[in-house]
C-alpha cells in the first residue's frame, strides 16, 4: 500500500514552510478576490447607472465607495429567515457548495509567469499561483460541472414553487451550455497540446514565430475566434448573467433559485456569482487572449509600452485628486485626494523606474500581472456592458442558441482545428 503512494510522500510531507506559504497565499487571494467582488458590485451599479444616465450609488462615502461595505454589513445583520418545510441539510448545503466551488476554481489560475524576486523561509519560490497542475483546465471544468448543484439544490430545498422552477431552469441551462463551453475550448487544447494553463499561455507567445513579433497574431483569439465567441457566450450563460439570467428572471420567478434565501446565505450566492465572473474572465484571457502577454512585440523601440501601467495610474490618480478637491462633502474632499495621491504615487514610482534600477525591476515584474489583470478587467466590463445593453432571451431562444447554434458551431470548429493541426504536424 505504501509503495503505491511513494510518489506522493515527498510532495505531501515536504517542509512545513511550503504549507505555511500556500496557506498564506490562499488567505491573501481570498481576501483580494472577496474585496474585488465587493467593488465589482459597486462598479457594476455605477457603470449601469451611467449607461442609463443615473448617478448610481453615491450616498455612502464619496462616489458611493463605501456602499459595498454597507451592503456587507446589512447582509450580516439582517434577520436570517428559514422558511418552513425546507429540507434543512440541503437548504444549508446549497449556498456553501456554490461559494466553495466558485472560490476553489481560483486556485488553479496563474497570475504571472515569474516567481517573486525573493524567497520564503526555507528557500521556497513564491509563484503567482496557488497550484499549477498539468490538468488545470480540466480541474476548472470539473468545478464548473459541480457548480450546477449549488443552484439546483437551492431551488429544490427551498420548498417553494418559484425557486423550484428557477432551479430547474438553471440546471437545464447550465447542463446545456456546459457542452458548448467544453467543446469550444477543445480547439485551444488541440493547438496548445496541453491542459496546463501556463502551457496554453506560453504557446500563444509568437515573439519567436516571426509573425513580425506581434503577440496579438499568436493569441488564440486570432486563430480560434469562433471558439472564443462560443466560449464567451456559453460562459455568460454558465454564470447565469444577462442576457442568460433566466434562472432569476424577476418578472416571472421573483428571484429564481435564491428567492427563499435571506441575509448572508443570499450574499453567499451573490459572491459565488461574482467570483465565477472573475474566473470566467480570467479563463477567457488565458485561453484566448495570451494571458499575461503584452500585445506589443518585444522590441527595444517599443520598450516604452512597459510604462503603460504608469501611463494609466498616474493620470487616473491625478484626476481623482482633481475630482476629489471639488467634491461636495468635506469627507470626500479629504479622502478622495488621498486615494488619488496613492494611485498617482504608485504610477510615478513605476515611471521613475526609467532612472532607478530597483524600481525598474519592479516595473518589469508587474508587466505580466498588469496585462493579465487589464484583460480580466476588460471582460468584467464586458459582462456589465452586456447587462446594461441586452434584453433577456426567451427560454426557447436560450435552448435553441445552446443546442442548435453554439454546440454545432463549436464541433465544426473542433473538426477544422483538428484537421489543420494534423496537417501542420505532418508537414
Amino acid at each position: 500500500m505504501t509503495a503505491l503512494f511513494s510518489h506522493l510522500d515527498s510532495a505531501l510531507s515536504g517542509a512545513p514552510g511550503y504549507w505555511v506559504l500556500t496557506l498564506i497565499k490562499i488567505a491573501l487571494l481570498l481576501f483580494i478576490v472577496l474585496t474585488v467582488n465587493a467593488y465589482l458590485t459597486w462598479f457594476e451599479r455605477k457603470v449601469v447607472a451611467f449607461m442609463q444616465t443615473r448617478m448610481g450609488p453615491h450616498r455612502v462615502g464619496p462616489h458611493g465607495l463605501l456602499q459595498p461595505a454597507a451592503d456587507g454589513l446589512k447582509f450580516l445583520f439582517k434577520e436570517d429567515v428559514m422558511p418552513g418545510g425546507v429540507d434543512k441539510f440541503v437548504y444549508l448545503l446549497a449556498p456553501f457548495l456554490a461559494l466553495t466551488l466558485s472560490l476553489a476554481s481560483l486556485a488553479v489560475i496563474p497570475f504571472g509567469p515569474n516567481p517573486l524576486p525573493f524567497h520564503f523561509f526555507g528557500g521556497h519560490q513564491i509563484n503567482l499561483w496557488i497550484t499549477n497542475p498539468d490538468i488545470g483546465l480540466l480541474i476548472l471544468f470539473a468545478i464548473t460541472a459541480l457548480g450546477v448543484y449549488g443552484v439546483a439544490l437551492a431551488g429544490w430545498a427551498s420548498n417553494s414553487k418559484y425557486p423550484l422552477l428557477g432551479g430547474l431552469r438553471s440546471s437545464a441551462q447550465m447542463v446545456s451550455y456546459e457542452l458548448a463551453l467544453t467543446m469550444s475550448v477543445v480547439g485551444v487544447v488541440l493547438m496548445a497540446n496541453s491542459f496546463s494553463l501556463t502551457d496554453i499561455i506560453n504557446q500563444q507567445d509568437s515573439s519567436k514565430l516571426g509573425f513580425f513579433g506581434w503577440n496579438i497574431i499568436g493569441w488564440h483569439s486570432f486563430t480560434q475566434i469562433v471558439g472564443f465567441f462560443c466560449f464567451f457566450t456559453a460562459a455568460i450563460a454558465e454564470t447565469n448573467r444577462v442576457p442568460f439570467d433566466l434562472p432569476e428572471a424577476e418578472s416571472e420567478l421573483v428571484a429564481g433559485f435564491h428567492t427563499e434565501y435571506s441575509s448572508f446565505k443570499f450574499a453567499m450566492f451573490f459572491i459565488a456569482e461574482y467570483t465565477s465572473m472573475i474566473t470566467v474572465s480570467a479563463l477567457c484571457t488565458i485561453l484566448f487572449f495570451g494571458g499575461w502577454q503584452s500585445p506589443f512585440p518585444d522590441w527595444p523601440s517599443l520598450h516604452f509600452t512597459h510604462y503603460l501601467p504608469s501611463a494609466i495610474l498616474l493620470p487616473f490618480g491625478l484626476w481623482v485628486i482633481y475630482d476629489g478637491l471639488k467634491y461636495e462633502t468635506i469627507w470626500g474632499r479629504l479622502v478622495l485626494p488621498v486615494i488619488g495621491g496613492v494611485i498617482a504615487l504608485i504610477g510615478a514610482l513605476l515611471l521613475a523606474g526609467r532612472w532607478i534600477t530597483p524600481l525598474y525591476q519592479a516595473n518589469e515584474f508587474i508587466q505580466a500581472p498588469f496585462w493579465l489583470l487589464l484583460k480580466i478587467f476588460f471582460f468584467l466590463f464586458f459582462y456589465v456592458w452586456a447587462r446594461g445593453t441586452l434584453p433577456r432571451f426567451r427560454y426557447d431562444q436560450l435552448m435553441n442558441i445552446g443546442w442548435k447554434l453554439l454546440l454545432p458551431v463549436s464541433i465544426v470548429n473542433v473538426i477544422i482545428t483538428a484537421a489543420v493541426v494534423l496537417l501542420r504536424y505532418k508537414a
Partner: protein, 167 residues
C-alpha cells in the same frame, strides 16, 4: 502513518459512508447527494494513485454530468420520500449468501497477494494525459472505438424513444 495513507483512509471512509448512506437515505435527492460524495471520493482516490486525468474525468462525467441529470430528473418529477418496505424474499435468501461470498473472495485474494493487490501501471510519478491518449489511440483503439459506438447507439436510442412519445 504517511500523509498519503491518511488521505487514502479519509477518502475511503468518505466513499464507504457515502455508499451506505446512499442505500439508507429515504429521500431520492439525499441518495443522489450521497452518490455524488462517493464519486468525488473515488476521484480523490484516483488522484492519489497519480491518475490526474481519470480523476478529472470522473468528476466531470460522473460527479457532474450524470449526477446532475439524476438530480434534475428527481427535481422534475418532484419525487417525495419513499416508504420502507420489507426486504424481498430474493434479497433475504439470495442476497446474504452472495454478499458473504463476495466478501470472502475479496478477503482471500487480499490475504494471498498482500495488501496492495497490484500497483497501477503509472508511467512515472504522475501519468500525463498525453500517454493515456497515446494508449487509447494505439493499443486500445478498437475497444475504444467500440465503446464510443455503443454510446452512439444509446444516444440514438434515447432520441428515438423521445420522438416516438411525441408523435
Amino acid at each position: 502513518m504517511s500523509a498519503p495513507l491518511v488521505i487514502f483512509f479519509v477518502l475511503a471512509a468518505l466513499a464507504v459512508i457515502g455508499a451506505v448512506s446512499l442505500i439508507l437515505q429515504r429521500h431520492p435527492i439525499h441518495s443522489a447527494l450521497s452518490l455524488i460524495v462517493v464519486m468525488v471520493a473515488l476521484a480523490g482516490l484516483y488522484l492519489l494513485m497519480g491518475a490526474e486525468f481519470v480523476a478529472a474525468v470522473q468528476i466531470i462525467v460522473y460527479g457532474g454530468a450524470i449526477m446532475v441529470l439524476f438530480v434534475f430528473v428527481i427535481m422534475l418529477l418532484n419525487a417525495g420520500e419513499e416508504e420502507r418496505t420489507d426486504f424481498s424474499k430474493l434479497a433475504k435468501f439470495g442476497g446474504l449468501p452472495l454478499a458473504l461470498g463476495l466478501t470472502g473472495l475479496l478477503a482471500a485474494t487480499m490475504t494471498r497477494h498482500g495488501a496492495s493487490v497490484r500497483n497501477p501501471d503509472t508511467a512515472g510519478s504522475l501519468a500525463p494525459t498525453g500517454q493515456i491518449s497515446t494508449l487509447l489511440f494505439t493499443t486500445f483503439v478498437y475497444p475504444f472505438e467500440l465503446t464510443s459506438f455503443l454510446i452512439l447507439v444509446a444516444i440514438i436510442g434515447a432520441l428515438v424513444l423521445a420522438q416516438r412519445e411525441k408523435g
